[in-house]
């Protein structure tokens, strides 16, 4: 293996500020994301132009809320209907447990080679690394995921994993890792990847996919995709394992069309994807293709904790379209890797703290200007800005304390400073005296105030306070009126 086009870099949410600083100084990253996000925003706007979008979003939100309101019952119903159809259902409390379950299924089939359709949950639990450690090769088949895997990176966007790479970089990766010609011909590169991956589909022992919607009333797993790799993954190998978070269940089949309409339009501005693949059972007697075994692994991994809280619950409505990151001024500038988490952007900033704890992710809820764009475009109306504020409160110990790592950012000096300010601001006499004093002593104010003055001028107290000015103004006005 030769060196990746990008130096292998590991990202951590703990290093958000340093990573953001590096990304902001990288013109290639800035240009790649700017171009892509501008295009996606325009496409989304156009494709919804002849829809009653607010009514559709309201429906999407209500369908997801209804599913969450009945979540334990629906999971049991999903399990029962899947079982009746011949799909084996497994439950995992944590990502590690899900990895172990999946590895055991692979080992039971003596699997050496796994082909994967796109699955963010599998990224979240680091499934590939787990399987590799057990001697099972896991190959991504979504073109973007394949490129990112070849380049020894992680996805930088939940829908477009290789959005951080431009054509020349991808050409270099394919050339270095697979021996293709260096070219800017996208059709050539796509055809080369097709040929390479077709061999792997045929040879794979197990196919692993995610799930976009799991339908409780019919025991159906729905997969949304354009490439056909999802259909290949779920049809060609003799065993299919689908893995998903417990929140992905919906009650009825009729709930699916509105969510699908919202998902494709919000994600990429498409009116529909090439394939909508609905799987309800393994190969039946008399059928000639499709896997002989289908497994569904339901993963909790912190989700049932989010579920406990009325406000935080909204996080679980997410249908993973990525519109919030496409519209986020912070994400567009720093890119997906900067966040150091599986889910970047606004949704990542409200989800990752629950999955990884606020100790790891304390800076993410502050990675937002609270401009509100994410909440406005969310197809299921998740109040993302409110949730960012809630997690900021949790991180300084001012919330309900039910998020892992709550209070991690609480600093005694900061608490004392705000308490002092509060006292000052509620005692007018002392306040006025202090302000007048500050004006007189302004020459003593330092011109550097830590990070605040890195890109701003230090504030200078005015010679006369606003309060004094207003008083003087009123006095002269009053005099004038009397005369």
């Amino acid at each position: 293996m030769s060196a990746p086009t990008h130096p292998v870099q590991t990202y951590s949410p703990r290093e958000f500020h340093r990573q953001a600083h590096d990304a902001l100084g990288n013109p290639q990253i800035r240009a790649n994301f700017r171009k892509a996000m501008d295009g996606l925003m325009a496409k989304r706007r156009d494709i919804f132009s002849d829809w009653d979008l607010e009514t559709l979003r309201e429906l999407g939100a209500n369908i997801r809320l209804r599913a969450l309101a009945k979540l334990p019952d629906l999971l049991e119903r999903l399990e029962a209907n899947c079982a009746a159809n011949g799909i084996r259902v497994h439950w995992a409390e944590s990502g590690e447990e899900a990895c172990r379950l999946i590895r055991e299924i692979c080992e039971a089939h003596d699997a050496k080679s796994v082909i994967k359709g796109k699955s963010m949950v599998s990224e979240e639990m680091h499934l590939n690394a787990h399987l590799e450690a057990a001697g099972i090769e896991a190959l991504e088949s979504d073109l973007g995921e394949y490129l990112v895997q070849l380049n020894e990176q992680t996805p930088s966007h939940i829908i477009m994993p290789a959005i951080h790479l431009n054509t020349d970089e991808i050409s270099g990766i394919l050339h270095d890792k697979t021996g293709t010609e260096r070219t800017r011909d996208v059709d050539y590169m796509t055809a080369a990847a097709r040929a390479q991956l077709r061999e792997r589909f045929m040879a794979a022992d197990v196919g692993i996919s995610g799930v976009n919607f799991a339908v409780a009333e019919t025991g159906t797993l729905c997969l949304v995709e354009n490439e056909g790799n999802g259909r290949m993954t779920t049809t060609v190998p003799p065993v299919h394992i689908a893995v998903t978070g417990i929140e992905k269940v919906v009650e009825h089949l009729r709930d699916v069309p509105p969510l699908y309409a919202l998902l494709t339009r919000s994600a990429t501005g498409q009116h529909v994807t090439t394939y909508f693949n609905m799987i309800s059972s393994p190969r039946k007697t008399g059928e000639h293709d499709g896997p002989r075994e289908v497994h569904l692994v339901l993963v909790d991994s912190g989700r049932s904790n989010i579920y406990q809280d009325d406000e935080l619950l909204d996080t679980l409505r997410c249908i993973r379209c990525g519109a919030c990151m496409n519209h986020c001024p912070v994400y567009t500038r720093v890119g997906g890797h900067t966040y150091g988490t599986t889910y970047p952007g606004p949704i990542g900033s409200i989800l990752s703290p629950h999955l990884m704890g606020l100790e790891e992710t304390k800076d993410l809820p502050t990675a937002s200007s609270l401009c509100g764009a994410c909440g406005e475009v969310c197809p299921v109306k998740i109040p993302i800005p409110d949730l960012l504020v809630r997690l900021r409160k949790e991180s300084v110990g001012e919330g309900r304390g039910n998020v892992p790592g709550a209070g991690v950012k609480r600093a005694k000096s900061e608490v004392a400073a705000w308490k002092a300010f509060q006292w000052l601001a509620t005692h007018p006499g002392v306040w006025r005296g202090s302000m007048a004093m500050a004006g007189k002593l302004k020459a003593l104010m330092p011109s550097r105030l830590g990070p605040w003055t890195e890109c701003r001028s230090a504030p200078k107290p005015a010679k006369t306070t606003l309060h004094a000015l207003v008083k003087r103004h009123h006095a002269t006005k009053h005099d004038g009126e009397e005369r």
Partner: protein, 222 residues
Amino acid sequence: MSARDAILKRLRERADGPLAVPECDFAVVTNRGWSQAERLERFERWITSVHGEVIHTPRADWTRRLAEVLAAKGVQRLALGREHPVAAEARKALADAEVELVDADRDIEGWQSEQFERVDAGLTSTRGAIAETGSLWLWPTPDEPRLISLVPPLHIAVLDAETVEDTFFDVVEAHGWAGGMPTNALLVSGPSKTADIEQTLAYGVHGPRELVVLVRHAGERP
């Protein structure tokens, strides 16, 4: 306690108590009220916008149009079913043609590499289509298995004009999908595509590079 029971217990003993169940009004995804002509026009506009080719043909004449497509695309080996009327009529019409007919109703284990490497096109029937999104509705069967609409580089789908409906929601409701789902239900809207290389659209990444829809009309039209 098993993982299952522990998860369900946590969900049932929710700290903030039971949640209200909201009403869902589906009016926004149904009641389009389009005429047959409008449905066809929309279906064609949307599916051609994503690189699907649409060919209209009188029902009586469809196999002749199929033969033309096969010749134009240089298809030498065509995979198809046997029992569905679409497959049966095609087999009859193509019996003396140059194109070699490949039986699709065989266990894939016996011909996987043949299907991946030496089949030029797959022919399938469709159950209907969706005007709003330009989507074909396929329920693969033992006669027309899942992979013949995916693996060969060309997918030819036969659609009867009167089976195009307004929306996905309408199809799910009108045909009672919830009452009995098949092993695999599919919506297909164009050939396989990707935009993963700097958002440049490329077709045929894993599935077919081309999708041709033969729309059969009752009577003489078009």
